[in-house]
């Protein structure tokens, strides 16, 4: 009986395909990094010479052509605080409800997840207009840091809900029966076991949200406004760093170099927040898995 030889596929250039594919991947990777490097280089070249201690603490002068960004840093920070103050309880609460209190396939759960996902695709300018009408006019906050922060909270809510939800869903399935078997209430199980276990994921969600919030312009122009004074209360209008960059680049002749300086600061801030969050998450994960 003749043995059956396996069919032989003729390969003309057996290695060439792999090489082309690898080269294409490398080119794509280099291009992606090159884009980032180019932006940073350009910002640094234009913006770095203006950076000094006075730049971080000084007031905006001559529409931003001179002086610093002190009040804007404070405004940006306050907007962020308002934003996180609303979005953390709202986003984590919503994700908890979806993952622990309703059935995934129920109408209510599908409506909420669908709504949240739609929210993620709404353009930020729409959030800005909504915030201006709802927070600014209906709730009477006017142009204020509070109105801006709350508008941003609506905008980054979907990010936090999604990341928290996936963090909760990726927890080991046997944590819940383990808690129930010890006679723990749902509240204890959630507050003392599930949330701490999901914390690294939640922090990553908050970080992504902060990055989005710090760089947002359109949602803030109509809500927290343009004021460059030192903010005294959350009811004051205050210009965020991103709005300042937009204004310098678009409305102020000769503002380009100062716009680059502000952009450099913003970039550094976002990088800082990201690295702190990543370091924290890794620290928690390491502590959880460290060999005793």
């Amino acid at each position: 009986m003749p043995t059956l030889a396996p069919p032989q596929k003729r390969r003309v250039f057996p290695v060439l395909g792999d090489r082309v594919f690898g080269a294409f991947g490398m080119a794509a990777a280099l291009l992606s990094f090159g884009l980032f490097a180019w932006i940073v280089w350009d910002l640094a070249r234009l913006g770095f010479p203006q950076l000094s201690w006075g730049y971080f603490t000084g007031e905006v002068e001559d529409s931003g052509r001179a002086g610093g960004i002190g009040p804007l840093l404070v405004s940006s920070l306050l907007i962020l605080v308002c934003c996180l103050g609303l979005v953390i309880p709202l986003g984590v609460g919503c994700a908890l409800w979806l993952s622990e209190f309703v059935k995934r396939r129920s109408v209510a759960a599908r409506l909420v997840t669908g709504g949240v996902d739609l929210l993620a695709s709404v353009p930020s300018i729409v959030f800005g207009l909504f915030g201006m009408v709802f927070f600014g006019q209906v709730l009477g906050m006017g142009f204020s840091i509070l109105a801006g922060g709350l508008t941003l909270a609506c905008m980054i809510l979907p990010i936090l809900v999604r990341t928290t939800l996936s963090a909760l869903e990726s927890l080991p399935a046997d944590l819940r029966p383990a808690a129930a078997a010890l006679g723990l209430t749902n509240t204890t199980a959630i507050a003392k076991i599930l949330l701490p276990a999901a914390l690294p994921g939640i922090v990553i969600g908050i970080t992504l949200g902060i990055g989005r919030a710090l760089s947002e312009t359109a949602a803030l122009i109509f809500t927290s406004g343009y004021s460059i004074r030192w903010p005294e209360t959350l009811g004051d209008s205050g210009r965020s760093l991103s709005v300042h960059i937009y204004d310098l680049a678009l409305n102020v002749a000769g503002g380009n170099t100062m716009a680059a300086s502000s952009a450099l600061v913003l970039l550094a801030l976002i990088l800082l927040v990201n690295s702190v969050a990543v370091a924290l998450s890794e620290h928690w994960l390491r502590r959880r898995h460290q060999t005793p």
Binding site: K103, L175, L182, G183, L184, P292
Partner: protein
């Protein structure tokens, strides 16, 4: 209720529960009668009546899919967590508490009837927190918790291995250590009954042996019901045995009694083939 009245009541329960009694109900901690477990329309366990004697070890054996785990999980109402799961029949603790009662205090019930699962499931926190969370929940004072923790960790032979690393993560322990931690955590709540759901099947042979010895050592201190696929293990540690089998598409109890008798001289033909290793 005085002991003799309790005993009489248990005898009454037993007489209504048909022929499922292993021993006199007066010495039983859990009296199960006519228990059925349904997943939606499918019945996983049908009409099981079984008494689980106080402070002794009852092994529940049988092939996969015969409803052993469903039965075990219904004993402390973990079946409540499964959507569409329904339990009928009666499960009574020795003081007359009806476990299946809709208004039963599930939280205190689960303190009294603990369970250890197949896969060790410590909380991903420090060893100490694994005890603090449940003990605080059940009203222990902070000052009493360290002593309690040390006592149960000594009971499971883990104290010397972990006493200097109580602040370290519990999930960094080895599988066998984690399972002993889970047993200690269940013991810490001072339960009357501990249910074991194949506690050794996810462990290597050496860790499995350590856990088996530990379960054996609980005899005389706490009532144990253990589901196991390991017949040799059941022979080694059980005082009583119950064999489950699939009858008419549902799990049923086909044989129960003192372990020595059940293993050496089973009455049911399926049980006999299974226990002799010829089937299952």
């Amino acid at each position: 209720m005085n002991p003799s009245a309790l005993s009489r009541q248990n005898e009454l329960n037993c007489s209504t529960s048909g022929s499922g009694c292993i021993v006199d109900c007066g010495t039983s901690n859990l009296c199960v009668s006519e228990l059925s477990v349904f997943y939606r329309d499918h019945s996983a366990v049908r009409d099981v009546s079984l008494n689980i004697p106080t402070n002794e070890i009852t092994a529940i054996v049988g092939p996969s899919g015969c409803g052993k785990s469903s039965f075990l999980h219904s004993l402390n109402r973990l079946t409540d967590l499964i959507p569409g799961c329904r339990v009928t029949g009666s499960i009574r603790l020795c003081d007359g508490t009806e476990i299946t009662h809709p208004q039963a205090d599930i939280l205190s019930l689960r303190r009294r009837v603990g369970i250890v699962f197949q896969r060790p499931n410590p909380f991903p926190q420090s060893i100490r927190r694994n005890f603090e969370i449940p003990l605080k929940e059940h009203g222990w004072h902070n000052r009493d918790i360290p002593d309690r923790m040390e006592a149960v960790l000594r009971d499971v032979g883990l104290w010397d291995e972990v006493s200097d690393r109580l602040h370290k993560s519990a999930i960094a322990l080895s599988g066998g250590q984690q399972q002993r931690l889970c047993i200690a955590r269940a013991l810490a709540l001072d339960p009357e009954v501990i249910l074991f759901d194949e506690p050794c099947s996810a462990l290597d042979p050496i860790a499995s042996g350590v856990v088996e010895d530990l379960i054996h050592s609980l005899k005389g201190k706490v009532t144990v019901a253990i589901v196991t696929h390991n017949l040799a293990q059941a022979r080694r540690i059980a005082d009583h045995a119950a064999v489950f089998w699939v009858r008419d598409n549902a799990g049923a109890l086909v044989e129960s009694g003192p372990a020595a008798r059940v293993f050496s001289d089973p009455l049911d033909p399926d049980a006999a083939l299974y226990l002799s290793g010829a089937r299952g």
